[in-house]
């Protein structure tokens, strides 16, 4: 079996993007535009700002396709991290004094059946991640949401939730380790089945 999950074909599209092929950009937009927009919207909670971030992210990709280095991992998580960082910057610019009263609940706690079209495009990796996130313990998920989607530092989270800093750090690391574990396991399963 030679067909791969999305990363391999992403690589091909990126290669075309490097040779200034606008059709490649359209293809990447069709593949990831929805995920990019959704993530930005989950963080900034403002449609106009989320649109601007989506626009910036794809334009940046067009201008500097070399900023994605395949050596540093798969394309989708790299793209989503850059979306998160831009969205957090936007959030910090507009809300200097945020309180945890504006709790961040963005992660899907249940695995909703995905749109079949989306599944066809994004492959099963997205689905596996959602399942892994749904399986996180409640207190781990809460820390992940505040740190990653809320842009709060671990110290801020500890102070405001009244938890020891060590507990916050441990929970965040445990959640990330759990995700890394699921991703690695799934990848090995796929590699074995080839």
């Amino acid at each position: 079996m030679t067909n791969d999950l999305s990363p391999a074909s992403d690589g091909e599209v990126i290669a075309r993007l490097r040779s200034r092929d606008t059709a490649a950009l359209a293809e990447l937009y069709d593949r990831y535009g929805r995920s990019v927009y959704s993530l930005a919207l989950s963080i900034v909670r403002d449609r106009t700002v989320a649109e601007d971030i989506t626009h910036e992210v794809f334009l940046h990709l067009w201008r500097y396709p070399e900023s994605y280095d395949p050596e540093r991992g798969a394309f989708a998580p790299w793209l989503l991290r850059s979306v998160r960082n831009r969205a957090i910057d936007a959030l910090r610019r507009t809300q200097r004094d945020r309180s945890l009263a504006q709790r961040v609940h963005v992660l899907e706690a249940s695995v909703a059946p995905s749109d079949p079209d989306e599944m066809a495009v994004l492959g099963e990796e997205f689905e596996r991640v959602r399942r892994a996130v749904a399986e996180l313990e409640h207190d781990q998920r809460e820390i992940v949401e505040l740190a990653y989607f809320g842009g709060f530092t671990q110290r801020e989270i500890a102070e405001r939730l009244g938890l020891p800093l060590g507990t916050v750090k441990t929970r965040l690391r445990a959640a990330l380790r759990r995700l890394a574990e699921v991703l690695l396991r799934e990848r090995e399963r796929w590699t074995d089945s080839r």
Partner: protein, 245 residues
């Protein structure tokens, strides 16, 4: 130890990936990563896990007009970049270039705390995004062979330059950093005075993207404002050469 336990530096790497570290600490981690393959692998896994998290949010379709807006802008940019590529070397794109150097290590008494916090967050973000780094080498006998390191993302405009082991610049004199453009001209990147330990951490904002530059150099100039063009001896520098995409 199971195969999923990341390196012993995992706690620091998580904070590094989240951009939470103080600048000095982030520089230490960046330096460590250059020589430690297990930590680079750990960071890659942490970043990948963080990245995939972004897929676990409720999905909403963006407005259809956004697709056209992105593609139209890209199509226009493609032509402009092509013209710029031809013009490069013929005209110095001097106008509108703004170069700022913020000296973080030399904290002024009047510096407001939130400014500092913002700068620290910026330094951490630049380091986390950096995909390239080079040594700044001393070029006169009074300076160590390596006086610092430059960290940058080749597609970006920001850079962190961490100096270490610089001797005092001398009474009434300052160090001045210059950015060398591809066409051979220089941009003033600002002046600074290292602290008592000889360290300085600069956040350098270039007028263009780094792919349009070929190096940096350090001279000693009259204080406090430095010079519009280099007048002193070049004491340190670095050069790089990469293909323009």
């Amino acid at each position: 130890m199971d195969r999923f336990s990341l390196s012993e530096h995992e706690p620091a790497l998580v904070e590094y990936a989240l951009g939470e570290l103080e600048p000095e600490e982030a520089v230490r981690v960046a330096r460590h990563l250059e020589t430690c393959a297990p930590c680079r692998e750990s960071l890659r896994r942490i970043e990948e896990a963080l990245g995939w998290l972004g897929a676990a949010v409720p999905q909403h379709a963006p407005p259809p007009a956004l697709r056209s807006r992105v593609l139209a802008m890209a199509a226009g940019e493609g032509r402009r970049r092509w013209r710029l590529a031809w013009a490069r070397g013929l005209a110095a794109v001097a106008a509108g270039l703004l170069v700022l150097a913020l000296i973080l290590a030399v904290t002024r008494a009047d510096q407001r705390l939130d400014d500092l916090a913002r700068q620290q967050a910026t330094v951490a973000a630049v380091l986390a995004a950096a995909d390239w780094s080079i040594e700044m080498r001393g070029e006169v006998p009074e300076l160590p062979a390596v006086v610092g390191r430059v960290y940058l993302a080749r597609s970006g405009r920001s850079s962190v330059v961490a100096f270490d082991g610089l001797p005092a610049s001398g009474r009434g004199r300052v160090y001045q950093l210059w950015l060398l453009r591809s066409d051979g001209s220089r941009e003033d990147a600002g002046v600074f005075v290292p602290d008592a330990r000889g360290t300085a951490l600069l956040l350098v904002e270039a007028g263009g993207v780094w792919s349009d530059y070929r190096g940096m150099e350090l001279t000693i100039e009259p204080g406090p404002g430095g010079s519009p063009e280099p007048t002193g001896t070049r004491v340190a520098g670095c050069r790089w050469d990469w293909e323009i995409p």
